[in-house]
């Protein structure tokens, strides 16, 4: 391609074609201010703050102005600066910007622009009109008084996350951001993915839980991977004083490109379960706190004495902990009696060869096979919606209600699942998203479909565990060790432990499982752990410890290693 030569602020520069002036400037380290623009979103040229002056003397928005041959622009000429100041004055005068009690103060892009351009007072009269405040949503505050109508949220909600909840109603000065055409946020089709709040430049869409907990630059930011399902979304966690304040989607992540779901973004902030903080032993019906060393000693002694030592591990722990667990049993305890807290159909696991989440976005047809990703794998649901919006067909096989039914081209009862084969006969690029716990009969049908298969494993490291040969509970055991992470232990698990006479549980939280345990050892949560997870696509990603574990609480891996040391 032909190179373009242009001049920015008098400096001749050479660029590839196809870029905007804003992009070119940025790549040369020239900071052109923007408000409606966001790097992840398509430019719309609405706020006009990024205007630059051309050689011809016109003011053009840099975000939408293509860099063309011979273009000459000034990015901070006196005219540009005056226009920007005036536009800022208009923005400050439009709604009610009371920084002194705004959650976003300090992190607000509008405020920063005011500072940058030295706005020391507002050219217009004081505020007179109150705009609505929608406080109905569990996590997100929608404060119209602070909205600058930049539409970042709308673009994030629609273009990035595929939900199409937010839009504009009315026009001109009466334009209002509105969920589902004037519904309160709570009653709208909002799925609480929070992308809107992440891109909002002001305090208009703010996260309620993190409100007034501090400014972004006072917080520690850690990149990690979400552990709430097997998608493995990249996250950026904000912590302060070892408290989790907010979670953002990591824009750079190849898995989720910055999009999260309610589980990933908000549930960790709302953790109310009671932590296990000290090792506890139950003897003669009494519970006693014991030292960690004593707990290890007691546990290993029991395991050593066992006839048939068994182990079950959580699919939410790291590959490194799984590895250590396998060695503990195979080497130190010479036992093959190990299992996983989840069980999958091995055939379903094998069905998926090299499917990846990106395939959904380019699919012509998507099948949801006995699975509803909305509540469990939100980003997958997001991707499905995006695919459908782009024109893909969606087929759902289910006997229950599916939250994506609205988007479906056709819904089949499970008894008519075989109809899929004919329906998809002529489709190219088919993605089948399935529940990996399906029956073998289902797999017989699916085998006939030419498609990419994506089994939605439940947990962050389910696939990692399966790959290490762990799947399903063990058969029988007298002394069992359960590395539970935050699993509480469902009825099936508890039932399978009936024969266990001595149960050792390594757990994050107090649960029915710890109630059943003879010995409890506290463990660090995934937020306090470093290592790797293998997501449903088979990508192995780094997990970083976001917070410090409470004093004396160790990670699964460290505890298991202490077991091994004790066993020699």
């Amino acid at each position: 391609m032909e190179k373009l030569f242009l001049k920015i602020n008098g400096n001749e520069i050479e660029v590839e074609p196809g870029l905007t002036v804003l992009q070119v400037a940025k790549s040369f380290g020239i900071d052109i201010p923007t408000l409606c623009h966001h790097d992840q979103l398509s430019p719309i040229g609405a706020c006009r703050l990024c205007v630059v002056e051309t050689k011809q003397g016109t003011l053009q928005p840099a975000c939408t102005l293509p860099a063309t041959q011979g273009l000459e622009v000034e990015t901070e000429s006196p005219r540009v600066v005056e226009a920007r100041k005036f536009i800022l004055n208009l923005l400050f005068a439009e709604r009610n910007h009371y920084c002194m009690f705004c959650e976003a103060s300090g992190d607000c892009e509008l405020q920063n622009m005011g500072y940058r351009y030295g706005i020391d007072h507002f050219a217009f009269s004081p505020y007179q009109t109150k705009f609505p405040t929608d406080f109905s949503h569990k996590y997100i505050l929608l404060e119209h008084n602070r909205c600058i109508l930049c539409r970042r949220c709308i673009r994030a909600c629609s273009d990035l996350a595929g939900h199409y909840v937010l839009g504009m109603v009315n026009r001109g000065a009466h334009t209002m951001l509105s969920p589902d055409m004037e519904s309160p946020l709570k009653a709208s089709s909002c799925v609480s993915c929070g992308a809107c709040a992440q891109v909002c430049p002001t305090g208009s869409l703010a996260d309620k839980i993190g409100a007034f907990r501090g400014k972004a630059d006072e917080m520690t930011k850690t990149k990690s991977v979400c552990a709430n399902c097997s998608v493995g979304c990249g996250i950026l966690a904000f912590t302060k004083a070892n408290h989790l304040i907010k979670i953002w989607g990591e824009w750079e992540s190849p898995v989720n490109h910055g999009i999260l779901c309610e589980l990933g973004r908000f549930s960790p902030l709302n953790e109310k379960r009671k932590r296990v903080l000290q090792p506890i032993i139950r003897q003669e019906g009494r519970r006693e706190v014991i030292s960690y060393q004593d707990a290890i000693k007691k546990a290993t002694q029991k395991l050593k004495e066992a006839k048939n030592p068994g182990g079950i591990i959580s699919p939410k722990t790291t590959n490194e902990a799984l590895e250590a667990f396998n060695i503990l049993f195979s080497t130190s305890l010479q036992s093959k009696n190990t299992g996983l807290m989840e069980s999958y159909n091995e055939k379903a696991v094998k069905l998926s060869a090299d499917g990846c989440l990106e395939d959904i976005l380019i699919a012509n047809a998507v099948v949801l096979y006995k699975v509803d990703p909305s509540t469990s794998h939100g980003v997958v649901a997001s991707w499905v919606k995006k695919a459908v919006t782009k024109g893909a067909y969606l087929y759902i096989v289910t006997d229950e209600e599916n939250s994506l039914s609205f988007y479906a081209t056709e819904t089949f009862k499970t008894s008519e699942a075989d109809k899929l084969v004919n329906t998809l006969e002529n489709s190219k690029k088919v993605v089948v998203i399935l529940n990996p716990q399906v029956e073998s009969a289902d797999l017989e049908i699916l085998k006939k479909v030419k498609a990419v298969f994506l089994p939605l494993y439940k947990s962050a490291n389910s696939l990692g565990a399966i790959k290490k040969g762990l799947n399903g509970f063990f058969e029988k055991s007298d002394v069992a060790l359960i590395v539970a992470s935050d699993f509480s232990g469902d009825g099936n698990l508890l039932a399978s432990l009936q024969d266990v006479s001595y149960l050792i549980v390594i757990s994050n939280f107090v649960s029915p499982l710890t109630e059943r345990a003879n010995l409890i050892i506290p463990s660090a949560t995934w937020l306090e752990t470093s290592g790797t997870f293998t997501n449903l696509e088979g990508k192995t990603q780094d997990v970083s410890s976001i917070m410090e574990a409470p004093e004396g609480v160790k990670t699964d891996k460290a505890i298991i290693e202490d077991f091994m040391k004790a066993l020699g």
Binding site: R48, V51, L59, P61, P66, L91, R171, G172, A173, H174
Partner: protein, 539 residues
Amino acid sequence: MKIYRLHVLLSTDSRSILRGALEVETKLKEEIIKKGLENEVQILRTGGWGIEEGVQLTVYPGGLIYVINNVEDIPYLVEEHFLKGRPVKKLMYEIDAPAKVEMTAPIEEEIMKKQTRIILRNVGLINPEDIKEYIAHDGYQALAQVLSTMTPEQVISEIKASELSGRGGAGFPTGFKWELTAKAPAKPKYIICNADEGEPGTFKDRVIMEGDPHSIIESMAIAAYAVGANKGFIYVRGEYDLSIDRLNIAIKQSKEIGLLGNNILGTNFDFDVEVRIGAGSYVCGEETALMESLEGKRGEPRSKPPYPSTEGLWAKPTVINNVETLANIPLIILKGAEWYKGLGVEGSRGTKVFTLFGDVNAKGVIEVPFGFTLKELIYEIGYGIKGGKNLKLVQLGGSSGSFITPEHLDVPIDWNSVRKIGAGQGSGAILVLDETRCVIDFLKNLLAFFNHESCGKCVPCRVGLPKALDLLNRVTSGNVEIDELGFMEELANVMKNTSFCGLGQAAANQILESLKYFKSEFINHIETGYCPANKCGRL
């Protein structure tokens, strides 16, 4: 084809309807049947002449205009004129000119005497709901000629040679526009007729659509052939019920006889047209906003480039032409570019339809070749200022247009001459204001209109307009300092320089021009606390 002895054009624009046009129609029909004239007198619904009184009836032949203020006058009118052939003087429209002009002469002689009707050639003459009448007036001849004897390239070069320019306001050469789309590689391509005539006071497109809908369809088909499109949309302003009805009737009739659809006139050219109804947003007259709206999105303008020629509707190459522009096409094809170039002046070929309104004696839609001066338009065709008052200001080109002060009355109205005085003719609206008008009151109304129509996308327009209105309200409530006029100018300049689309820029222009030509009037208001025109109430 049925031949009527008398054609009665009944004004059924919204204002006429409010004044009882439908009652008049019912009564007329009743009386005509009573007198047994139903096979002799045809009643046609049309728009009005812009006369701000009564319900207007234009009777052909003769072109006499009656103004009906009372339904009770109908029996007498039918009896006297329709039956006995004696025009009823007391019901005739009188122009309130210094020398009272009685419209007793045929309309061609009085109102049409200086006009040249190319675009409006069929308006008022044919029954717009009957394709046969259009065909009888050489309709679809041009399409037939194009399809049978011309290549698309030839069509484009003919249009280019005619120097036809867009009548929507910008005056972009139509042939060039077509050529860009024809050359764009992407497919499919689209033709859009912009019939979202939202300019207050302007109704020339409506007159065309109501009076000659087939001319639009024929032109679109020609354009489609020229650029390689097979689908067209007419985006009509929602309030134009009658236009929509008549366009739909016309489309249906054209399809029935194979002038639309597949293999038109036996060739392998396929073309179909659909009418789409706008929701009454001024900004949707802007071509990219119109396309957003057609796509089912919020009607807000897009950034340009890319231009519609290469990335228009659904990001496909699109020709978008105004109603009036399109109406020229068949005659250019039939009579040739050279003939067409004989009309108008250098740089502005052909005729232009103007809507003349405001404080002028004869208001309405007029068509003249380019090059008439405003003086001629106002004082000769418009019979001068009402009540013999002096002219204060002409707003040329509609709400978004420019101010023309009396010293520029001799400037000919053509693209170049108008541009030289820093103005534009826009949609061809000519609003005449006499000396008793208050420019601030006028500006306030204009800005209120823009404020209502702003789409809300960009900051300068969305926020600037209400703030400018606030300032103006403070001027008229005597609560402003003179130095705030400088601030108003600053505000207008920012709006003009940074608004996303023409709406905000045009609104800012109105402020700047008001301040440029009439600053003393502002100062007068502020200093004396008194509106010289007594329009602003007690300050």
